[in-house]
Point group: C2
Chain length 201, copies 2
């Protein structure tokens, strides 16, 4: 079972089955493929967010009632560095008195339940390397964190059409074989590997 070179990803991947509601078993002309549904969706969303951010067309969902988020002193410093990036991705945030932030809108795909986790994660990342992350790196980090929080989790059943959609969209991304953190989204087992496994010459 190997991580896959981008060049070896074909356009005729056929999903067969969703294993453990997490991994898609598929085949193509080279043999068998396994696709991590979360990693694949992360890659799809990451590419989408980067593109929307570049065209300043991020989609927001207004919250019915603004939520508040209390920052620690360290988070407050990080917040000021990253607030612009968060807004570029569809957040609408307002600094209230003290270290409280009001969240008025969040990116369109982000589940409400993930908003706080995502903010905390981003602020922690920014804080950890405040001595140098370039603006572009910061943007990538926000997009990656957002993609991770908004992507389909493992242990979620997918209908066959959704598997098909996921694979088709994944193949149009900038790097179909990896998630934005660099982990594999596709693993391959070639027919040759299988033959070897069965001790066939």
């Amino acid at each position: 079972m190997y991580e896959v070179e981008v060049e070896s990803v074909s356009n005729n991947i056929r999903p067969l089955y969703q294993l453990e509601e997490s991994y898609i078993i598929a085949v193509d002309a080279e043999g068998m493929l396994l696709i991590d549904q979360h990693a694949a969706h992360e890659r799809i969303l990451f590419d989408k967010y980067r593109k929307l951010e570049q065209t300043r067309a991020a989609e927001s969902q207004q919250l019915l009632m603004p939520e508040t988020f209390d920052l620690t002193p360290a988070q407050a410093a990080a917040f000021d560095m990253v607030a612009g990036e968060l807004e570029a991705y569809g957040f609408s945030l307002m600094r209230l008195s003290g270290r409280t932030v009001a969240i008025k809108a969040v990116p369109a795909d982000l589940p409400a339940s993930e908003t706080r986790n995502m903010l905390a994660e981003i602020l922690e990342t920014v804080e950890a390397d405040r001595r140098g992350a370039a603006r572009d790196t910061l943007r990538e980090r926000v997009a990656a964190s957002l993609a991770c929080r908004a992507a389909i989790k493992v242990n979620v059943p997918l209908a066959p059409e959704k598997m098909r959609w996921l694979i088709d969209r994944l193949l149009t991304t900038s790097s179909p074989t990896t998630c934005p953190h660099g982990r594999p989204a596709i693993l391959r087992l070639t027919t040759r590997d299988i033959e070897r496994g069965f001790h066939r010459p």
Copy 2:
């Protein structure tokens, strides 16, 4: 991808797809399985032949026209040692003048086209270890050679019902995980292996 312990073979294997008309991709509660259709059928036939031989109930098919087979001097000596075993498995053979053998009937499942190859293979094996193969070993060799020649080859399309049949029958054999030569008939990729492949903790 690992060879499978007999104890870990479950009864709820579900075939999904026949890869390259040779290997069945299947799933069970532990994850994914690959089944070598030839090795699996070899095991099924080997067990069947051993049982029929023990109960003296081997099935024959009469040839419309007896065929003749010319033995080399070395094969002639081997033939005398193994003729009884061949008959026990459904061959009907008659030594003619010189070193010619008439083949009047062959085991029921053996394709006519494989008869000569199988005889040559068996005689070669017997010849190679004539200094000691016990009668029981000889019987096993004949059954293994017969199973190999009669089993479904690779690159043969199987209907879903045939895949189902192959798996169900394999699971009732004395050793579902290996072919009579000891090569694997089933390989496993557990969900845990797949998680590791995707760098999941």
